[in-house]
């Protein structure tokens, strides 16, 4: 087994190569505006670091969000194309679950994962102490999430960004492709189709009534 894992649903671009037992190579960069530039060079570097050729790959795992749409699509477009051309299965995983799989070690109790959805909102999901998802994924105002779920520990950049609302912050801030690969390899992460979790409709206003151009 040789698994290529990647996620672009947050400001991080994270890539890992996993052989079914352990991570062979991984890299994570953080730059919310350069996903297109960073992703595929990181993929080729990870393959090279793992001493593997693209034709050695047996499956692909990709974070399906939720996350800012433009960056999210960079990862999904690449994962779907690689899977299609190389003839490999593409496993989708909720990006919040990837963060939760890392964060459960630090929580010691039920916890939340929140990433930045901009406009004072977060993409969020709730987990029990073992890291099993119990609520979400959803998108909403940080304050509403706290009002509904109380003062739980929060992992993800949404916690840091809205630290005025979320009091108890735990790591990590970003998903790790190494965690994604490990969770897909050992079957502990729920796998879905590699389709984007947008959770919001496109911003688009229907045309308004004509305005007068005469004085």
């Amino acid at each position: 087994m040789l698994l290529l894992a990647l996620d672009t649903a947050t400001p991080a671009v994270t890539v890992a190569v996993h052989d079914g037992k352990r991570v062979q190579a991984e890299s994570t960069t953080v730059d919310p505006r350069r996903h297109t530039e960073l992703l595929m060079p990181q993929v080729t570097a990870a393959l090279s670091d793992a001493g593997a050729a693209r034709t050695d790959l047996t499956e692909i795992a990709v974070g399906v969000g939720p996350g800012p749409f433009t960056g999210l699509r960079v990862g999904l477009a690449a994962a779907r194309m690689l899977g299609d051309v190389l003839g490999l299965p593409v496993r989708g995983v909720c990006s919040l679950d990837i963060i939760a799989r890392s964060a459960r070690h630090y929580a010691g109790s039920p916890f939340l994962v929140a990433t930045d959805a901009r406009r004072r909102e977060v993409y969020w999901a709730g987990y029990d102490a073992s890291g099993a998802r119990t609520a979400g994924p959803d998108v909403g105002a940080a304050a509403d999430v706290v009002a509904e779920h109380g003062d739980l520990p929060v992992a993800g950049l949404g916690g840091t960004r809205y630290a005025d609302v979320f009091a108890r912050l735990i790591t990590p801030e970003y998903p790790s492709a190494a965690e994604l690969a490990a969770g897909v390899a050992d079957g502990t992460l729920d796998v879905v189709a590699p389709d984007p979790l947008y959770l919001r409709r496109p911003d688009a206003a229907l045309p308004s009534a004509r305005k007068s151009v005469l004085a």
């Binding site: 350069r34 996903h35 297109t36 530039e37 960073l38 992703l39 595929m40 060079p41 993929v43 080729t44 693209r54 749409f69 433009t70 699509r73 960079v74 990862g75 999904l76 477009a77 690449a78 994962a79 779907r80 194309m81 690689l82 299609d84 051309v85 190389l86 984007p196 947008y198 496109p202 911003d203 688009a204 206003a205 229907l206 045309p207 004509r210 007068s212 151009v213 005469l214």
Partner: protein, 347 residues
């Protein structure tokens, strides 16, 4: 020896295009359009377009391969639109193209969308004899380019300073109760109208404007003039003569576009013009361009409509020109550039 097989991917606006080209021979031109999803918004919604690209790019790739009856292993290089265009839409194509290039282990060329429109003409009528002046007119673009070498040297002579011509068609269509996209509906309405019944203004053609904006266009004043004319008629309780308004508007657009493009040819001593872009489907624009080029001794070249609108074959055609010239592939770290200047044919 046969020329290398180039695959082109285009996602700069609302068309997902994948084309296959050898040299200047067209093998496939598969396009998936999200235009129907934009109709109720009266224009292209970038996020709607980007979502559609993600869903369409892999299926469109396979349609192109089927059409050309080739396999992925036959592809020698991949070309993709790096810009200009809608930022989020471009990124889907660039990311997919990078993944395709890695999966195939083939070189990748990020190329300029505008110059791609010019390269597409080579698929219709064979190699261009540069220099040429290109008049590109669509919903997103209205430019006059000078192309000295389609693979390496293009220059912007003029462009719209406000709305694109296609945008003006869409807005005027709405004013007179016609549907989106405005181009075909206005053309149909204009067929029943008198183009000289109402004279609408030709933007940036006055003496002072011709000094500062010699090859530039402006359509927002024209749109406002149509709005004023229609509203004045409505206030007076007169029926709006939709055919005459459509014909007068269409005539104003075609007149200014062709006059300035012909002028560019004459002043630059260039004897070939290429007409491309979605608005090049407009019959009156084609007719007037042809008449004026003939009168000025300019050879007019225009590809069929499916090569005029945004498509992947035009990107493959430009990729083929770049590969034929032996130019190096793009640095793999390149990103899309929504305002890529036309001087950057290859990034």
């Amino acid at each position: 020896m046969t020329a290398p097989l180039i695959l082109g991917i285009e996602t700069s606006c609302d068309e997902t295009g994948v084309g296959l080209v050898r040299g200047t021979t067209l093998l496939a031109n598969a396009v998936a359009s999200s235009v129907d999803e934009h109709v109720r918004f009266g224009g292209v919604v970038p996020e709607v377009a980007s979502r559609a690209h993600l869903e369409a790019v892999v299926p469109t790739l396979h349609r192109a391969l089927d059409e050309a009856q080739v396999g992925l292993d036959d592809v020698d290089a991949v070309a993709v639109t790096a810009g200009p265009g809608l930022a989020g839409a471009l990124m889907v194509g660039v990311s997919a193209a990078k993944a395709l290039a890695v999966a195939l282990d083939k070189p990748l060329y990020g190329v300029n969308h505008l110059v791609g429109h010019v390269a597409a003409e080579q698929l219709e009528n064979g190699p261009l004899t540069e220099p040429v002046v290109a008049l590109l007119v669509s919903g997103g673009h209205t430019e006059i380019l000078q192309v000295d070498d389609v693979a390496t040297a293009a220059e912007l002579l003029g462009q719209t300073i406000d709305d694109a011509a296609g945008e003006a068609f869409d807005k005027v269509a709405r004013l007179i109760g016609l549907k989106y996209p405005g181009g075909p509906h206005i053309q149909r309405a204009a067929a029943d109208g008198d183009p000289s019944a109402i004279r609408f203004p030709r933007g940036l053609t006055g003496q002072r404007d011709m000094a500062r904006h010699r090859y530039d266009f402006s359509f927002s004043g024209l749109k406002t003039a149509v709005a004023r004319w229609v509203e004045t008629a409505e206030r007076a309780g007169d029926p709006v003569p939709v055919g005459d308004v459509a014909a007068g508007f269409q005539e104003a657009v075609a007149d200014v576009l062709t006059a300035k493009a012909v002028l560019a040819c004459q002043e630059r001593g260039i004897s070939t013009m290429v007409l491309a872009g979605g608005v090049a489907a407009n019959a009156r624009l084609r007719e007037l361009t042809q008449q004026r080029c003939e009168a000025a001794g300019i050879e007019l070249r225009q590809p069929r409509f499916s090569l005029c609108t945004d498509n992947g074959a035009m990107i493959a055609a430009l990729g083929a020109a770049v590969v034929e010239r032996g130019l190096p592939p793009s640095r793999f770290e390149f990103g899309s550039d929504s305002s890529l200047p036309v001087t950057e044919v290859l990034i």
